[in-house]
């Protein structure tokens, strides 16, 4: 007894597998394009953050009492030859990115 439709099933299965493969490839392609676009935005954000911190350092060096946009942490002091140099530590962080914290010291009043 002959079995009709065997080739049809094979073709259907192969088309199905082919479609899955093509969809996976398309997905990969879109993901790659998305990643490239995100990477561009990320680089711009990173550069803006670095510029901000550089500007703040310039402010500290050039101005007597600069206004800093970082988060002030507890006031502290460095002891040199039993004399205290009071300072405040400022923390900067790139929004939404861990491990990007940068700290600046600003001379300030005694805690």
């Amino acid at each position: 007894m002959k079995r009709h439709g065997g080739i049809f099933v094979e073709v259907i299965v192969s088309i199905l597998l082919f479609t899955v493969g093509i969809l996976a490839l398309t997905g990969t392609l879109f993901y790659g394009v998305k990643m490239v676009a995100q990477s561009r935005e990320e680089t711009v954000k990173e550069q803006e953050y670095k510029n901000l911190v550089e500007n703040q350092i310039l402010g500290i060096i050039r101005e007597p009492s600069p206004a800093l946009s970082g988060t002030p942490l507890a006031a502290d002091q460095i002891i040199i030859n039993s004399k205290a140099v009071p300072f405040t530590l400022y923390r900067y962080k790139q929004e939404g990115k861990e491990g990007t914290e940068i700290y600046l010291i600003k001379r300030g009043s005694t805690p």
Binding site: I61, D76, I78, N81, L89, E101, Y103, L104, I105
Partner: protein
């Protein structure tokens, strides 16, 4: 891969083996490429972490040197009479979350000029050194910056 027709007819599984082998080869190549990309990404990330640590320490040293330089500019005898052996600060440990660094200041000089050396070193082993030289003979006092040893 070409499989001889007579052989294929004698052994019906030969073509399938060939297809499987070619598939295996292609998959191996694709896997090798993916592993290579992942490995390079990890290397770049490690490099970036190292760079941010260097920047962090450099900025800490720069701003610490600035704070002490300002004190010295206002009053050169603020920390005692300057000498060539150096006045060394107590190590200041700065911690925030997982970050920890030690800042040390050394002041050397005489009545003509003063050197402030700020060293920031992290628990991970990195360090940054920033030096300022204050010319005490001029009005206003001029400050020269340098970095490194």
């Amino acid at each position: 891969m070409k499989v001889d027709r007579t052989k294929r007819e004698k052994r019906p599984g030969a073509a399938l083996i060939a297809i499987v082998l070619v598939g295996f080869l292609v998959l191996s190549l694709v896997s090798a490429v993916v592993i290579s990309i992942a490995w390079n990404t990890l290397r770049v990330e490690a490099w970036q972490t190292e760079q941010i640590e260097k920047i962090r320490l450099d900025y800490l040293a720069r701003t610490a040197a600035k704070a002490v330089t300002d004190e010295l500019t206002a009053d050169p005898d603020n920390f005692g009479i300057l000498n060539r052996n150096g006045i060394v600060s107590q190590p200041k440990v700065i911690t925030d979350g997982t970050f920890s660094a030690t800042v040390e200041i050394t002041i050397k000089g005489d009545d003509q000029r003063a050197n402030v050396v700020a060293k920031a070193s992290s628990a991970k082993g990195g360090s940054a050194l920033v030096r300022t030289t204050i010319d005490l003979t001029t009005t206003p006092k001029t400050v020269t910056w340098s970095a490194g040893n």
